[in-house]
Amino acid sequence: MRRDFASCIVTVLCVAVVLFFPSTRAAGQENSDKHEPQGVNPAGGGVPAVSLKHLEAKTSGPTPRTADGKPDLSAVWGPGLNMGNIAVNLKPGDQLPLQPWALKLTQDRATPEAKRKDPKPNCLPDGVPREDPFPYKIVQTPKLIVFLLEGNVHSYRQIFMDGSGHPTDDLEPSYYGDSRGHWEGDTLVVDTIGFNDKTWFDGTGHPHTEKLHVIERYRRPDLANLEFEVTIDDPGAYTKPFTIYGHSPLLLNTDLMEYWCVENAAQDLIHIVGDSK
């Protein structure tokens, strides 16, 4: 009887620990879980941000749709690419088809002096498709889709869905270019030109020119996942087009927050002395 009672107490305590433990590990405290990147990226996806990990939707469901039957991409999404080196997001075996000058420039950008000129730590916009380990938000309407970017600087992309084409003249080169979108079945296709050449594709320093033409394809196969591929065609810097693959997880119980990179960035720049390894 006594042993049964003791056994019962132990059992109750064990159950209590099992039930209680998950709720005691608050966000931000030591997390030893090792999550593999999810998604369809054949290269394995990006580096998931631990600050966002606990916000990823744990359940799934059908693809939400708008009144006109299109997939509704509106949501807050986590970053979906590895932006240390864009080549990581290629299919296994693929290589970046750099032209010789672009390869040399990338190599030249390996020095600390060059890294200090990376637009990102200087708080300039990322361009396309570079990302930050912060969320972004898609706001979808029938005629316009807006990407709201928490970082690198607070910024936005407008995807015009009204059937109009790119301006044929007087297109001022810009960080995010001119984007026009349409639906191919359940896939949102975004065509962008009109980039300036001021951004780097990644922290490694892979360059591009103003001839850059980017085609993005976004699919929301279910509630919690946004799959995308980005085809980069820049005859000014690459010998042929190439495609990278990404996956963004749906984030719940969060929204975009302020991130003003420029506030105190100078303090970091002066300490950049090493390589990125």
Partner: protein
């Protein structure tokens, strides 16, 4: 005691930190030497809740009793909020332990990976999953 045990465990994973995690603002390896990651104990003297990185400063006493002030870099405030931090979680005068990587340029500066607060809570301070591998 709990903190000491935690840092003993984290020490086993120092080698695993010699990678280049994605960082909000700059690549980690440009500024910090993960291979020399260590634990520093001291008293908070100032907190800067700023972008692109929050910072706090800690007076650290060496074995000879000499005190030096170290600048500890954290993730950005938006990332820290999502990790459970608040701007007043660190207060001047708090005794803390910081596991982090020192600056490559020799400055008395480190990137904090985890911070053990005065009340014993151990907070992840970095941004990426690799930052929290220790």
């Amino acid at each position: 005691m709990r903190a000491k045990l935690g840092f003993a465990v984290t020490g086993l994973f120092v080698a695993a930190l010699a990678t280049s995690p994605a960082f909000a603002h700059h690549a980690f390896g440009l500024q910090y030497d993960a291979g020399r990651s260590t634990t520093l104990h001291g008293v908070v003297t100032k907190v800067e809740w700023t972008n692109p990185h929050a910072h706090f400063y800690v007076d650290i006493k060496d074995e000879n009793g000499n005190v030096s002030n170290w600048n500890m870099e954290l993730a950005s405030p938006n990332a820290l909020r999502r990790l459970g931090w608040t701007r007043d979680i660190l207060k001047v005068g708090d005794e803390v332990s910081v596991y982090g990587a020192p600056a490559k340029d020799g400055a008395k500066m480190a990137n904090a990976r985890t911070v053990t607060l005065a009340d014993g809570r151990k907070m992840v301070a970095g941004l990426s999953e690799k930052d929290a591998e220790q």
